[in-house]
């Protein structure tokens, strides 16, 4: 350990090897799989909503990767079937997440299909769930004395709205809601779908 070059060359080689194993090899493997037939690209509005989702940091509390019934009761909670690599081909940046301070959202559009519900929930989560610790997003909305013909009014229970006038959704809130409603991976998965089967029980045959 007295030479500079051998030290850094071997160090670099080890990192290159790790990159091959963790990034390149699985990347090649996943690129060979077909895109699931039921998956469609995001619409323009949904993409804008996705940008809101990303920039507001929803990923720090919400995962988008339901687990297999062999591991956890995600299906029973209504979060959807176990997700596979092909479910995410249109996702850039990926929003898989590492926390479930809030529930998994990969299929929230199916579980909670009401636009009105989402607008209320985004404006003030505690108007729906008293126990919720999700931030409110009042800046995605505006207060008006009365709603115009184009406005989407937010339905609020007593005590959560302004003293007078109405709360209407800004475009950002409508886009974000459109993205949430588009989150739907309930289509059947292709036979060659890839996911971590490490929890599969023996009797299930995989």
């Amino acid at each position: 350990m007295n030479r500079y070059l051998p030290l850094v060359l071997i160090a670099f080689g080890i990192l290159a090897f790790a990159t091959l194993m963790l990034v390149i090899a699985p990347g090649i493997q996943m690129a060979q799989r077909s895109v699931p037939e039921g998956l469609r690209p995001y619409s323009e509005q949904e993409s804008r909503g996705r940008e809101q989702y990303v920039s507001l940091g929803c990923v720090y509390c919400h995962s988008q990767q339901p687990r297999s019934p062999d591991q956890a009761p995600d299906v029973e909670r209504g979060w959807g079937r176990p997700s596979v690599a092909g479910d995410y081909v249109f996702d850039q940046p990926h929003q898989l997440g590492t926390m479930r301070t809030g529930p998994d959202l990969l299929n929230v559009g199916v579980r909670l299909p009401s636009e009105s519900w989402h607008l209320t929930h985004l404006y003030q989560p505690r108007a729906i769930f008293g126990w919720s610790i999700m931030p409110a997003y009042p800046y995605l909305f505006e207060e008006k004395p009365e709603a115009g013909p184009e406005d989407t009014v937010v339905v609020l229970p007593e005590g959560f709205g302004p003293d007078s006038g109405v709360v209407v959704a800004r475009q950002e809130a409508l886009d974000l809601t459109a993205y949430l409603l588009a989150l739907d991976r309930t289509y059947p998965v292709p036979e060659d779908a890839l996911r971590d089967d490490g929890y599969a029980r023996k009797e299930s045959g995989s």
Binding site: M1, N2, Y4, L7, V8, A11, L15, F17, A18, T19, L22, V23, A25, P26, M30, Q32, S55, L56, G57, C58, V59, Y60, C61, Q65, R67, S68, Q71, A72, P73, S83, V84, A85, Y88, V89, F90, Q92, P93, H94, L96, T98, M99, R100, P103, P125, R126, W131, S132, I133, M134, P135, A136, Y137, P138, Y139, L194, R195, D196, D197, G198, Y199
Partner: protein, 515 residues
């Protein structure tokens, strides 16, 4: 295809085993020929020159430190600035989890932005910068030659800090790359890459001009980290080539290697230098440090996909990362034996040196964080802890209790030797130590217990999801208390460091004259 993947998996094991056998052979046949004389490189030319405890060795007799002093001083100041700001954002994010309607008037204040600002500022502003400061202080010393091109790191300092400032402002406004640990827009990240060139070039030049044949163990970690981090950071930030799940594997390959191949070498390397230096005796077993280093390189580099256990990635790559996570026991035990035995045989030094208290505490936390990480990667454990606050507790055991606390000690050791005078308020150093240690204990146990309860609740189909949220609230409140104590400690740290820098010049000169 599965066969090909199986082959790759087998190849990984074979390569790892080959490397390990090579290492054992190399040690057995003395290819590396590491002995106590090499371990003593850490001391000056005359061998062990006695303990380097508080109030001693305040005068630079070799002419090395005074060249490194300018970049090191700037880097320490920059690091502390981001530490105070970054930990304040951390406390705000923590409070928001139990006061969700507090400070909610604008998008930059929302939890998602505060949390990511906290992470990026402490990871790149504080930890990376203080680690680079340690590189500039320690490497010329162990190479026994003054830093070459000492103006380059000053330029690098400004580019780095401008990059962090712009990155933070952009992120606060909602301009983000959208992946954990990679939030800053890649266009601004390229500023950090450029700054990296200004840091690496002078250090490599210094390494090549060294006046000692042997590269001390700290040098292995630092020189390798200087190759690893730029490669990682550049590849992960390259736009347009990553998408979907492939991007997720890049994300966690990168994010865990930031810890394993960047922050950990900085922390371990720093501890490997200061522990024997302060005590005045070489480390316990110098040959063992080889296993610690190469084991870290081989195993740590492949653990990242344990962040995607149970997710939409191929099973084999998850298993590969789980196996490597467990293999980390080997290098960690090697480092633990070396560092802890050296301290345990010289407990007197903890009384004589406040910095050593921080550094050896941090070194113990490295052992614990790594053990915890290895166990947490097991599928049976991970199924409970994944997606919960437990993981956040673990991350802070590694990045805070280990790396940050080692760096506090390093700064407290470097500053008096750089300025030629002691800290005016050693009492504040003691208070800083106890605030961060007690604060961290509260922080860690709250999130660990709360996270386990949360994970168990989420796995139980008979309990509603709401239950898993409600039961964490008291633990999240406790975390805010611990986090606030840690942040108060950082403010004391900042006060002390600014104090020693601002002392009038006249006093400094009389101290030199007295020497």
């Amino acid at each position: 295809m599965p066969i090909t993947m199986g082959l790759l998996l087998a190849l990984s094991f074979v390569v790892s085993l080959l490397a390990l056998s090579f290492l054992i052979w190399a040690i057995a046949t003395k290819q590396f020929a590491l002995d106590r004389a090499h371990a003593a490189t850490v001391f000056g030319k005359g061998g062990a020159d006695g303990p380097d405890t508080d109030g001693t060795h305040l005068f630079d007799t070799t002419g090395i430190d005074r060249v490194s002093a300018r970049p090191v001083r700037l880097l320490i100041l920059g690091a502390i600035f981001w530490l105070v700001l970054g930990s304040t954002f951390g406390v705000i994010a923590s409070l928001k989890l139990h006061w969700p309607d507090w400070l909610n008037q604008a998008a930059p204040l929302t939890f998602g932005r505060m949390r990511a600002l906290h992470l990026n500022l402490v990871a790149y502003g504080w930890l990376s910068q203080i680690g680079i400061a340690c590189m500039f202080w320690i490497l010329p010393r162990i190479f026994r030659t003054p830093l070459r091109a000492p103006n380059l790191p000053v330029i690098g300092f400004w580019i780095w800090n401008i990059g962090i400032t712009l990155g933070a402002l952009a992120f606060a406004q909602g301009w983000t790359d959208g992946e954990e640990w990679l939030e800053f827009p890649w266009q601004l990240d390229m500023l950090l890459v450029l700054a990296g060139v200004f840091f690496v070039v002078p250090l490599v030049k210094t390494a090549r001009a060294r006046e000692v044949d042997h590269i001390y163990v700290t040098g292995w970690y630092f020189l390798a980290a200087m190759v690893w981090f730029p490669c990682l950071f550049f590849i992960a930030n390259l736009p347009g080539i990553h998408y979907g799940i492939e991007e997720a594997t890049v994300n966690w390959w990168f994010a865990h290697n930031v810890l394993g191949l960047w922050l950990t070498p900085l922390g371990v390397g720093t501890a490997y230098y200061f522990i024997p230096k302060i005590i005045g005796k070489p480390i316990y077993s110098y040959s063992l440090s080889l296993i610690g280093f190469w084991g870290l390189a081989l195993f740590y580099s492949q653990v990242g996909i344990h962040h995607l256990i149970g997710g939409p990635v191929p099973t084999w790559v998850v298993t590969l990362s789980v196996v490597h996570s467990v293999m980390m026991f080997i290098p960690v035990i090697a480092v633990a034996i070396n560092q802890h035995v050296t301290v345990a045989r010289n407990l007197w030094a903890l009384k004589e040196s406040l910095p050593l208290r921080f550094i050896s505490f941090g070194a113990v936390m490295y052992t614990l964080a790594s053990f915890q990480g290895s166990i947490e990667a097991l599928r049976s454990v991970n199924t409970i802890t994944h997606f919960t606050h437990y993981t956040v507790g673990h991350a802070h055991l590694g990045a805070y209790a280990f790396v940050s606390i080692v760096m506090f000690g390093a700064a407290y050791h470097i500053m008096p030797r750089m300025m030629g005078r002691d800290f005016a308020h050693p009492g504040l150093i003691r208070l800083h130590f106890w605030l961060v240690v007690v604060g961290f204990a509260i922080y860690f146990f709250a999130l660990t217990i709360g996270g386990l309860l949360q994970g168990l609740a989420m796995l139980d189909a008979t309990r509603s999801f709401a239950e898993s949220v409600i039961l964490t609230k008291p633990w999240l409140e406790a975390r805010s208390v611990g986090g606030t104590m840690m942040t108060l400690g950082h403010i004391l740290f900042a006060i002390n460091v600014i104090g020693i820098l601002r002392k009038p010049r006249a006093v400094a000169q009389s101290a030199v004259a007295a020497e």
